[in-house]
Structures are given as C-alpha cells and as structure tokens.
Symmetry: C2
Subunit: 425 residues, 2 copies
Amino acid sequence: MALIVQKYGGSSVADAASILRVARRIVETVAAGNQVVVVVSAMGDTTDDLIDLAQQVSAAPAPREYDMLLTSGERISMALLAMAIHDLGFEGRSFTGSQAGLITDSQHGAARIVEVTPVRVQEALADGAIPIIAGFQGFSRETKDITTLGRGGSDTTAVALAVALAADMCEIYTDVDGVFSADPRLVPAARQLPRLEYEEMLEFAAAGAKVLHLRCVEYARRAALALFVRSSFSQHPGTAITSRARMEEEGHAMEQPIIAGVAVDLSDAKVTITSVPDEPGRAAAIFEALAGADVNIDMIVQNVSAKTTGRTDVTFTCPTGSVATARAALESSRDRIGFDELLHDEHIAKVSLIGAGMKQHPGVSATFFSALAHAGVNVELISTSEIRISVVTRAETAQQAAQAVHTAFGLDASGEAVVYAGSGR
Amino acid sequence: MALIVQKYGGSSVADAASILRVARRIVETVAAGNQVVVVVSAMGDTTDDLIDLAQQVSAAPAPREYDMLLTSGERISMALLAMAIHDLGFEGRSFTGSQAGLITDSQHGAARIVEVTPVRVQEALADGAIPIIAGFQGFSRETKDITTLGRGGSDTTAVALAVALAADMCEIYTDVDGVFSADPRLVPAARQLPRLEYEEMLEFAAAGAKVLHLRCVEYARRAALALFVRSSFSQHPGTAITSRARMEEEGHAMEQPIIAGVAVDLSDAKVTITSVPDEPGRAAAIFEALAGADVNIDMIVQNVSAKTTGRTDVTFTCPTGSVATARAALESSRDRIGFDELLHDEHIAKVSLIGAGMKQHPGVSATFFSALAHAGVNVELISTSEIRISVVTRAETAQQAAQAVHTAFGLDASGEAVVYAGSGR
C-alpha cells in the first residue's frame, strides 16, 4: 500500500463532468489499495474571474483581501470534489490550507511555507477518509490571516504535503501527457519525455516551460521525492522527475538522452544601458538600483569597452512587466551610474537547450549554434549553465530556432538527429 | 459616536458597481463619526449558482462539504467590499464567520449560534479599521468545521454580532425601502411602515413576509436591540423595529395604527385526514408521526365529530415541500391513527392580518370577515394569535382577499378606511 499525493490543476476540474471524472480516478487509486491525499486548484477560469472582479472594485487591491478573495476558488472545487467522492461511496473530506496545517509567512500573494503540520489530514487518513486539500493557500500564524503562495502554488502545496506526510510519490495532474521535449504548439514534432532529472526540470521551469512550478521542483529535489507529471484525461504513464541516483538504481540511466529538450520564453524584455564608464563600482550601482526596485534579472552581458572612450554598454533581460520599474530605478541612479541612454526591446525570445548529458558530451554547443546559423537565426545574447545553453533572438524567429535545434539533436518524435560537426563546447 | 452594525443582502452587492455604492455608504457613516461593523451576504445569484454546481456533482451533497461550498460566496463579497473601502482611504478588514467568533453547534445547513466572541472584530475597531464579516456562516468548536445558519442567516449573523458588541443599532439593508403594509406586487397601494413592534414583525415573518428572518427578529427582541430595515439604493429612513416601551419613550406610540398590514403566504399545502375516531390519543398519534418526520405544522383544525359515526376529519397545513414526507409518515402510522383517507391540496393561500393594536380594539374580526365576504373570498380555515388573524383561501383568490382587507383597514397609501361595522372580535 502506497501513500500517494495527487494534485489536480484547474483544467482537470474545469466543470462538473471533469470533477466527476477526477473523483472516479481518485476512488480507483484508493480501491487499488493505496492511500490518497488530494490537492486541488480552483476550477478552470475561476481565479481569472475573481481577479477581474477585484480589478472592477479596486485600482490596487489590498493584498490581505486579495488573498481572501482568491482562496475562495479552491474552496469551491475541493467541496465539489469531496461531494462527488461521497456519491461514489467513499468519504471525501475537504480542508482549507489553514485546516491542513500549511503554515506560511505573512507575505500576501507570495507567501513561503514555513511549516506543514497536517494533523487533520492524518486523522482523515486514519479514519479511512480521502482528504481533499485546497492548493495555493496557507495561513500565517503571526497575523492569523489567510495567505496565498502565488500563482501555480498548488504544485508547491502538493509537494510540501507529500514531504510532510512522507508520501511515496506525488503526482501532478494536468491536461497534457507529461513534460515534452518542446512546446508542441511551437514544435509539432515534440515528444513526450518518460523521465527527467530534477536539475533538468528546474532548468526547463526557469527557461519558461509552464508545466511545473520551479519552487515545487526545488522542494521535491531537496526531499528526493518522486514526482510525476500526468494527464487526468488519459492513462498515459506521464513523466517521472527523479534523481540520477534513482535512475541508476532503476536501470534507466543508460538510456537517458544527452539532451532533454528545448524551451522558448517570450515573457522577457531586453534593456540596454549605453556608454557606461568602464570602471569599478558602475556595475554594482546598476544592479543595486535594480535589486532595490525588486526587478528580477535573468541574463547580463557587458560589451568589451571601446578603447577610445573607456565606456561600454551593459545589457540585461528581465520580465517585460518590470521594464517600466527598471527604467525608473536606473533613471533615479543616473548620476551614480553615469550612462548615456536607456534602450529597451520587448520583441525578444529566449531559446534554451537543456540536458544533463551535455556536461559529459563535447560538441553540443557547436551543434546548437550551427543549427541556429543554418536556420538563419541571429543570436543577440548568450548565457549558459552546466546543463543549459540559452540564446536571445528576435521573437519572430523563436519558432524556427526551436524547430531547428529540436531536429538537430534528434528530438523529433520520428526523426533522426542531424548533427552539425563540431568539437568542444 | 454610535456603534452601528450594517448588514447588506445579496441584491445590495450584486455586482462591482453595487459593491462600490455600498462601500461609499459605509464610509459616509464612518466619516459622520460612527463606528461601523459590516455583515455581508454573497453577491446576487452566487449562492444559487453554487447550489446548481453541487447538484451537478452529487445527488445528495454531503452536508459538511455543502457548507464548505456555500460559505465561499460571502468570502468573495466581503473581500471585494474590503478592497473597495481601502480605495476610499479607509481600512476594510474582512473576517470569515470563524475569524469573527461566530461559534455554532455542528448541525450543518441549519447551525444555531451558541456563542459570539468577536475578539478580532473588536481589535479591528480599536485599530480604526472597518470590520467586514461574512454573513450566514459559523464554526463548530466541537468538530472544528465550517457551518452555515441556513438561508437568510446573514440577518441573524448581523443581530448576533450587534448584541455581542452591544451596538447601538442594527441596520438590515435590502432592495426595498423597509417593511410594507402588504407585498406591493400583490397590493399596489401598499405603503411603507415607519415603525413596527417586534411582535408584529415576528408575525409578519411567520405569516410569509420575506423581508426579515424570523430568528433574527426573535434575537433582537430578546436583547431589545433597535433594528432597522432600509434600502441600500435610497436615503429613505426605512422601518424601525422596536418595542412598545421604546415607542412610548420616543412619543410614537399614539400614532401607531391598529393594523400594521396584510401578509400572503403561498408556500403551504393543506392535508386532511378523514374519518378519524374521535377518542383520546388519536390526535397525539397523528402529530407524533408528523413530528418524528420533522414536518413543520402551521394551522390545525378538527371538525366537530358526526354523532352517528363518532368520527371526525383533521386538517393541517405544512410547507408544500413536506407533503410527501407527511403522507408517508401518516401512512406508516395508519393502524394507530385509524383514518379512512389522506387528502392534500397545494392550491391554497394563507392571508393574515397583523397588528398589535387589535388586542385593544374590538370589531377587527368583523371588519376582516366582512371584507372577505364582500370580495367573494371563501374561508376554508381560520387561526388567530393575540395580534394576528389568518385564513386559508383558494390560492387564486389570495390577491383579491389581500386587497380587500388592505382597503377595509384604511391601509391603502392614499385611501380612506372602509370600516364594516361589527362588535367584538
């Protein structure tokens, strides 16, 4: 008998028929001899509808009240799911984040979990009931107020509960058959990945893949919790996210491909600060100003300075929504930084190649850049980690870049690798 | 400075524009130097929409989960209202029933308040914030679960909080200018009543008037809390519901009319049990069977028994929705009761005349029955209290009965009293 935490996202419980389908799936898992703890998101568009309402009554909704509002969405879905389970002859017992012991700090809208004390969840399991927990929400012991973990936080709720309950696994149910080698809307030949290392999934999430929340993967990795991404609409086994060590134990390590996949992120913009004096302290002034304004920086590039002027350009990328804040923060530090102009460009895409195997395999970079060159894609910025190479290109060439790279590394569902010769990385 | 509890019903917060209007009204009351505690219902049709959803996923929704589901409605409205108040420069602070200290028993769907400990509400007032409390909901200390007070329970929440906080008054905001002498849809000449005694309002509520919940009026009467029914759409002073003693203190007692108004209730049915042996114990057998099945009985009439047979007919009225339950309960006690036939009739109306003044004024009954006779209305059953006379008639004659009685007692907004002579009651 395994203890399984199953998380169902909004698309899996979008309407009454979907809730009934999910209830049957849960009950089947229990009938097969498992204990199941369920975490559920708000139905379909509920959260967006609530956000619309908030915007109609307030220009800048008070954060405490915004959390109170948004948490009603999961309250609806969890109660309906518990009712549907009752009708199948099992006891569904719903719990809010607070009732389930998800204690957070008091940062409304982006609270962090500080402790999980799932006493009532364990009591329900001991009673033979199926606990249904509201995702995305917690309770601040300090202020006694309801908090939320930020969008996509239901994945984190599920992993945190699975770790606190010492569950055997955590299944994240969504509307696709797991993680793919690329977004199938951009790369139709993308294929489903049977397994991924935690580190690869982290890079995918950071590179713009929406399938899992970065925080939940970090949380699972720290606890070495086996994580699965599955579809609630099919019986497909989905994608297992696990450690290299476990893959080796289970005999899957040898067959892991060098490259896991390609990710495209269209949500960032590029900001260039021109003609900055190339002397100590200027970069610090730039990034202190940005940090003070809570701007999340992704890539940073500094040109070699022109010998004649002793000045250089500094370019960085950040979320498009932060550009105005970033510009204002830089303008207000203009004297300390000493730049000439601020330029920004929202029509960029970040294309990333991800694979734990690239550490041991030279030639990956060469193949990557050759593929981009053959596809006529111009590279504006480059950044790398041990298991990822990212480039910034024009937004309109993102799809051809992704397709070319996908094909070049033999990732196409029914294709052969086209290897552009090259050595070293 | 007065402490005022204001309760806003679903029609007063039906959409974003209404919420903004209510927020301005609250802030104006505070700006005028008062402390205000707000109780709010779910927006417009939210509760009905949630009930629809529950019926789509479950034939008989689990009561604990049904309460969890329905309480999300007030969570939405209270958070939105608090946000709107923030935007007007005041701090709105929303509280669930549980957070506001509304402790109930654990009877889901019809919980009774056992204690009100509004510590967080008082803290909010001390901080200069405006507490916004979810109506209709509470918390069972015994099961640690969320409960609901039953439909219309938000009025009771408001009165219970007002009593616990020793508020100066409780204002119930709705979409009409207070209590009327009759339902204006049935009697277009109905007029708004400036004041009513608690007992009159209780009789109105019991006689089918929907404007206030019976429980909340009882609660207010026990605590001698001044209660007002007002419109959130106008500045009309509304209806004050208070004691005879307070009316006398305030000099309003002399001008109170003898008759407050007329109420029509179409929600009951009539059940007749024919040919019951007229001997001790038979009536007890009937009403024990009905009580055991939780059927709420309103009027009861027993005919004089026929001398030749020693048998009689017993007739009672109960909610139309309980007729099937009542018939089944009586059938299963057929041997103990010894009746011949069970008949039922759903096409009845109860028409009631209400007025605290009828105690001291003879002739009221005579005028009432003369008016009905002149209007050609046939009376099937009669019941009376000290301050009410009710008759059962055909449903299709209810409107003409109500209009005739309304006119006869001079209640028409611009009419003269037509008094049919008579003596005694």
